[in-house]
């Protein structure tokens, strides 16, 4: 199970290596900081930015819990509370979880498939800038006193212009539309990268589970996000231009908002959880010293969840009075979707039971995930059953359920992935002891916060209430939850402290500290700008454990897998991973940033009713795109299809 791709083992001689470095290096200038197209730098930025938004949304939650520590506490007004709980949910879902996981995807997918970058590096950069601007657009509304306050699902008629005057809900609709551009661009990029840029020999049945998860997630994004975008467009039009889509007095229908929202919203929760489950499938087997059990079953489960998730949305509407027949169907589908998740859980358990476990911090977070995700999963089955749902939806029981599946199902894997890939991301090891303390506090804090909420929900406490009366039996559970929130916050701060400490004084990391099996562990820590000096030939599901991989990058490797002249990577066929041709990767450019700024102008213009400003922003975007795609001056050799036209 050995592999190392230290420079002395590999095929390219010193001239080829020097040429690769020269073509791929991005000079450390200020311009290049804004103009980078390197997936590793962009991936890290996604992680940091999403982490900051997580901090803001988490601080909001601590404020909310402080207000709810006791009855009629009076620490936050209703006006403040309603904005904070809306921003907490909206930011956690849209500005933290998916971007954070897309950040992992950005950094890891090209590495795991043996490529040198994403298929569309400039689109990748554009996606990051749009994400940053959309996040700032939404968070800036908080100090401006105009933060969205309709809840993260913003039901009409509460959110129409009569019941929600002011800019709050315009920030919501426009902010999410803006963000949607980034998410869609990212999804297209992941799919094309995974289909076309895999190393030769990496057929579909040799693709790492994490990559399968990211690709399935991206397909879900492509079909779910447009429905949300439409919903937000219709709401914006109703609010700003008096259209009547949701106005029952003029023939509109309020339930349309809910249908469109949840047709997006349910797949969205799987969009959040699926890449995280992919992280578990990447991390767990390594600490069990074996490959994962049931690879085909897990791939099947991923695809099944992606498809079935589009057929369950009405379970969010069980109290709205739709026909019983439709409730029966959606309840059945919602129950069935448990099965693929169950398959994955038992595949992981089987991996642990037949492996040789080594306990390290990433593994601890995986265990934390297993415990909490199972709790969330069993309460989820309860909600699939209409009769029970109608009693318990919109209470703290559902708040408990979804925090177990989201914190358990997404945050624990994210933390596992953070500790696991920190060496690769930064070249440093995190301290094991501090990491274990962080895990302990996070695990205890999370359970102490959310377990009592099951009880207060069963005792009749509705959700989204800024306060509650004493004497109803809700007080002790709320106090416990608040204490838990503080413990959790300390644990998360320890995570941050650990990362910062690692960056400053952590042990320098070797290429492969954990003994991993996927290709990112065949690069240096952190990887060189070109990732692989020789793009490997893949022969199995565990390339780094397979000696044939190292042989393929050793002395005598084909020059057409080195591509030392210029910035190039390989295209291979979609199913078999058969070598097709080399393709040129673009240089650093400011155009993605300028295009994103143009979009920011568009959305600010729309928000503040400066429609000519918005039009000017749109013109800027169009002109920038025109210049971006304008063919560069090419020599006849460069225009030759054998060398390959450029990527986007």
């Amino acid at each position: 199970m050995a592999s190392s791709t230290a420079a002395c083992d590999t095929g390219p001689g010193p001239e080829a290596m020097a040429s690769l470095s020269r073509h791929w290096a991005e000079a450390p200038t200020l311009r290049n900081w804004f103009a980078t197209v390197d997936h590793k730098r962009i991936g890290r930025r996604y992680l940091v930015t999403a982490g900051v938004f997580f901090g803001l949304a988490g601080a909001s939650a601590v404020a909310l819990r402080t207000q709810l520590a006791g009855p009629e506490a009076g620490i936050l007004s209703a006006w403040e509370y309603n904005q904070l709980f809306t921003m907490h949910g909206t930011a956690m879902i849209f500005l933290f979880s998916t971007p954070m996981l897309f950040g992992f995807g950005n950094f890891l997918v090209p590495l795991m498939i043996g490529a040198r970058d994403m298929a569309f590096p400039r689109l990748n950069a554009f996606g990051y800038w749009v994400f940053l601007f959309a996040g700032l657009f939404m968070w800036a509304s908080v100090p401006a006193g105009a933060a969205p306050d309709g809840g993260w699902f913003a039901y009409v008629p509460l959110t129409d212009e009569r019941n929600s005057p002011g800019l709050h809900l315009d920030v919501y609709t426009l902010g999410l539309l803006f963000l949607g551009v980034s998410t869609t661009a990212g999804a297209i990029n992941f799919i094309v990268t995974a289909l076309k840029l895999r190393a030769p020999g990496m057929s579909l049945n040799r693709v790492p589970i994490f990559v399968w998860a990211v690709v399935a997630t991206s397909f879900m994004v492509l079909f779910a996000l447009p429905v949300l975008n439409l919903d937000n467009v219709l709401l914006f039009l109703d609010r700003r231009f008096d259209t009547r889509f949701f106005d029952p007095g003029r023939g509109g229908n309020v339930l349309l908002w809910q249908h469109l929202f949840w047709i997006f919203g349910h797949p969205d929760v799987y969009i959040i959880v699926m890449p995280a489950l992919g992280i578990v499938s990447a991390v767990l087997p390594v600490f069990c010293r074996r490959g994962i059990v049931g690879y085909p079953l897990i791939v099947f489960s991923i695809v099944a969840i992606a498809i079935i998730s589009f057929g369950v949305w009405v379970h969010h509407m069980f109290a709205t009075g739709l026909p019983q027949l439709s409730y029966g169907f959606f309840s059945a589908a919602s129950t069935i979707i448990t099965i693929p998740s169950g398959l994955q859980i038992f595949a992981w358990l089987a991996t642990m039971l037949t492996g040789r476990i080594v306990v390290r911090v990433p593994f601890l977070f995986v265990v934390g995930f297993l415990v909490t995700f199972v709790v969330g999963g069993v309460t989820g089955v309860m909600f699939a059953l209409t009769a029970f749902d109608q009693q318990i939806t919109d209470t703290y029981f559902v708040v408990a359920h979804f925090h177990y599946v989201l914190f358990g199902g997404a945050v624990f894997p994210i933390l596992a992935g953070l500790y696991y890939w920190l060496p690769k991301l930064t070249g440093r090891m995190a301290g094991e002891r501090l990491g274990r303390w962080a895990f302990g506090l996070v695990f205890v804090g999370m359970n102490l916060t959310f377990l009592p909420m099951h009880v207060s929900g069963l005792l009749g406490m509705p959700r989204r209430v800024y306060t509650y009366p004493g004497g109803l039996g809700w007080d002790p559970w709320n106090l416990l939850a608040t204490v838990g929130a503080y413990v959790l916050a300390v644990g998360l701060l320890l995570v941050v402290a650990g990362v910062i400490h690692a960056l400053r004084r952590g042990e320098p990391a070797p290429d492969d500290p954990w003994g991993g099996d996927s290709l990112e562990w065949a690069t240096s820590s952190p990887p060189k700008p070109y990732n692989f000096p020789v793009i490997p030939r893949v022969h199995s599901l565990h390339p780094v454990w397979d000696p044939r991989t190292a042989e393929s990058t050793g002395v005598g490797a084909d020059g057409d897998r080195i591509l030392a002249e210029g910035r190039g990577t390989l295209l291979t066929s979609e199913l078999d991973g058969r070598y097709e041709r080399a393709v040129r990767m673009p240089q650093e450019t400011l155009k993605p940033l300028v295009a994103a700024l143009g979009l920011l102008i568009v959305f600010l213009g729309l928000l503040l009713a400066g429609y000519w400003v918005a039009a000017a922003g749109a013109a800027l975007v169009v002109v920038t795109l025109g210049a971006w795609l304008w063919p560069p001056r090419q020599t006849p050799e460069e225009a030759d299809p054998a060398v390959g036209g450029g990527a986007v």
Partner: protein
């Protein structure tokens, strides 16, 4: 085909493996983009039917007349065939004939522009009867057709860009890919129009 070639094509290796060359990244990019934009239209047209059947008879409501068919059918006759000059332009650039590319694109531009003009004429007539704020029918009618018209406009901008770029230079692989991307988008816009025609103009009469 030579005997050797036949043996290769029909031998075990030839029959059990896929084609040597798959699709390009640009092909995948535009196909996925069309899939996601198509979903927006599917949701929008689905919302039309949802709102209509929740509203019940009469439809259109409030005494608005059912949409006239003549102008939309002419618009269809102008827009849908405009996919043909695009195909012709694509085949031109594949053979290295830039004049064919430019002529095809210009024809598409003319037909697409005519379509938009006719839509403007239609609006001019209808706005006297109902606007986007009159009721949900008005909102649906104008938002659906304007949304489609915006996609046509973007398509025409892309065609103009290709025309400008063709004046520059290059008939290499990259240019051919770009023409194909625009062509796929244009075909998509035409297909969506057929769905809009059915939903907005024909279905009230069914």
């Amino acid at each position: 085909m030579t005997p050797d070639g036949i043996r290769t094509a029909f031998g075990p290796a030839g029959l059990t493996t896929e084609e040597p060359v798959g699709r390009s990244t640009a092909w995948w990019g535009v196909t996925l983009f069309v899939a996601t934009e198509g979903t927006v239209f599917a949701a929008l047209l689905g919302s039309y039917f949802y709102l209509r059947f929740q509203h019940g008879a009469p439809w259109p409501p409030d005494g608005i007349a059912r949409p006239e068919l003549l102008l939309p059918l002419i618009m269809t006759a102008v827009l849908v065939p405009s996919s043909l000059p695009v195909v012709w332009a694509e085949s031109g650039i594949r053979r290295g004939r830039r004049w064919q590319l430019r002529a095809g694109l210009l024809a598409t531009l003319a037909m697409g522009g005519t379509f938009l003009g006719l839509q403007g004429v239609e609006y001019h007539g209808l706005l006297r009867e109902f606007t986007v704020t009159t009721n949900v029918y008005g909102s649906l009618f104008y938002v659906i057709t304007t949304f489609h018209g915006a996609h046509v406009t973007v398509g025409l901008l892309m065609v103009c860009w290709l025309l400008a770029a063709s004046l520059h230079d290059g008939s290499g692989a990259r240019r051919r890919e770009q023409v194909r991307v625009v062509a796929y988008y244009w075909h998509f816009v035409d297909a969506v129009w057929v769905a809009v025609l059915f939903t907005v103009y024909l279905s009230p009469r069914l």
